[in-house]
Symmetry: C2
Subunit: 365 residues, 2 copies
């Protein structure tokens, strides 16, 4: 079975399947983000109820606690968190580069102090790859440099060069770990999939250079990083229009950090297969509820105090079909945690169902 | 069908059934406390999964938000919170008496400022009864004065007298609301059950006086208040030994605020039928986990960092059968909310199962 197969290319986008150590993922799809191995507000049972196919966990957080050694001793991340479907781990790059004032960057990687307890750590392409192997994720990511979208062209150029040098080291480390006889497979059935990350900000020539050189190193899939970080939607889509066609047709394409429903649809139509984002959950926690019909409501608004209609009668979330808007409004007002649970399950449910519906629509074309 | 029937009196305690507007409750049993209409950390589905028979909600909190009028307009508390099994509401007395510095007590009731926004409110026996009717609970409580257990005999004497005067007003208000033709039944099938509350601190003569005078007013059931509030376990059990026999044999007896497993068993053996307490959930949130075998563990203890055994393999909670101690330790360490969910479902599950097992044991005697 090929690692990635495209069943159909349609005006709506590509319809495919990614094969992983923990089974297939139907594309296009969206990763719920379980930072330290848990979602905020909802349980694993809720995730399965919403038909989540896969989870994203953050290497930075899991490295700080409980540490990859503890997770390996539990039999890997799937056993540790009790999730038997595919998991992707990021490289930790995005998190350590965000630790302004707490980190020092060199060509070998990033020395940083943990945001939690100030302890000293070092993360570079070698370490990030080794840690992700120990965690036992199904899809792992190259350690990249993520400059802010407001950075100068010069800074972004430097970041692209470093990202490419590090991508090479990640690939070498990955190959070395994968050599039979080293015993490094640990809890893995077979090698995880390693994805390269295309950086380059809004500069199409830098994106092109990065995409081409990553392909000459050779990865299982390609991600686009450094988008949805402050630029306008038009700017983002313009970059995608130029860069997506430069990526191999027979490999998965992953746009990191996009989670707005209409943007997901637009990006799928431009050829993206995978997404992750904390946004649906973050807005949920602040009372913005996505509805099945594509609209959204601010449930904390006073007009919902006596609105005894179900939150969303057509919802993929059982909570939203049975509980009323007035009840959810009340729970937010009195700061009850059930508010977060109902809101998060709703927003994630609507996002996942939109992707599922998109796949069904493509299948029927 | 009688409102309360005792099937058996055994050395373990009484085995009975309370009939309510929302169906029967098998006794002895324990009320989970859903203060403002929601449990902290767990969902209604979790409650049903744990076979919770009934819920307790707090009148004080629901009066402040969303208010009894909003709840009545939703069709009552059961519709509003989406729970179709029996609900007991307390009178709000305990909460408003705890608002030291924010309240003024008179013979008519308590004028107080809300702990949330400082708004002014008045709660007395008339208001508490009217509000509980509007909420539409199945079992409602008299508005009583709850002095601290450290209060002087004189203060407790005054509180008993006031509690008795107020009990009479509650009963009169209740009867008036229940008169056919007034339309006050609102969302209710028939009148709720009204329970009197025996106060008197650790003074058996005051408890006796209170118990006797409440019975001459006449209630559907009798609660014991002002226990488990600082006195020793021996002192509490000594009061129960004296006072429980003074309560009618053919009516339910409710001990408020007790939730420690071995105390529940001891109190059932002394003739108590009903309990409520936030304790199992509160200790859960701080990392103390009750196990099925009657022991408990501090999951935040370092020794659980690499303990990859299930939290409690025989648990009534699915989470604790599938998730490991190392994972729960990790979730507490990184402050993930799933920690609270797993811990609360575990502790409530163990408490409810202990009561269920006790009923089964009595049935088989």
């Amino acid at each position: 079975m090929p690692m990635f197969s495209v069943k159909k290319v349609s005006p709506l986008g590509r319809r495919g399947t990614v094969q992983t150590n923990h089974g297939p993922i139907e594309t296009p799809f969206f990763f719920p983000v379980a930072t330290a191995g848990a979602m905020r507000g909802i349980t694993h049972a809720d995730l399965k109820d919403l038909q989540a196919q896969a989870l994203l966990c953050n290497t930075y957080h899991l490295h700080l606690h409980p540490g990859e050694e503890v997770i390996a001793s539990a039999g890997g991340l799937h056993s540790f968190i009790g999730w038997n479907r595919p998991i992707l781990t990021d490289s930790g790059g995005y998190q350590v580069f965000s630790l302004r004032g707490l980190r020092h960057i060199s060509d070998r990687g990033v020395e940083f102090r943990a945001h939690t307890d100030g302890s000293s750590h070092f993360l570079g392409p070698v370490e990030a790859t080794q840690i992700q192997w120990k965690l036992g994720a199904d899809i792992i990511m190259c350690f990249d440099e993520c400059p802010p979208s407001t950075a100068s062209r010069r800074e972004i150029e430097t970041a692209v060069d470093r990202t490419l040098r590090w991508a090479k080291v990640c690939k070498e480390t990955h190959e070395k770990l994968g050599k039979s006889g080293t015993g490094e497979l640990g809890n893995l059935k077979s090698k995880p999939l390693l994805f390269g990350i295309v950086q380059g900000g809004l500069h199409v020539d830098l994106r092109r250079k990065c995409a081409e050189e990553l392909q000459s190193i050779g990865f299982d899939g390609y991600a686009l990083g450094g988008l949805a970080v402050g630029e306008s939607e038009d700017e983002m889509l313009a970059v995608l229009r130029e860069v997506t066609p430069l990526l191999p047709e027979d490999q998965p394409r992953y746009l990191m950090g996009v989670g707005v429903i209409h943007q997901l649809k637009a990006c799928v139509s431009l050829g993206i297969d995978m997404f992750d984002c904390v946004l649906p959950m973050r807005i949920a926690r602040h009372g913005t509820i996505l509805l099945s019909d594509g609209t959204e409501i601010r449930i904390t608004n006073a007009k919902f105090k006596e609105d005894h209609a179900p939150i969303d009668p057509a919802s993929p979330s059982d909570f939203s079909r049975t509980h009323t808007r007035s009840y959810l409004h009340h729970l937010f007002h009195v700061n009850e945690r059930l508010a977060e649970t109902i809101a998060c399950k709703q927003n994630l449910g609507v996002t996942l169902k939109m992707m599922r519906d998109l796949r069904t629509k493509m299948d029927s074309l």
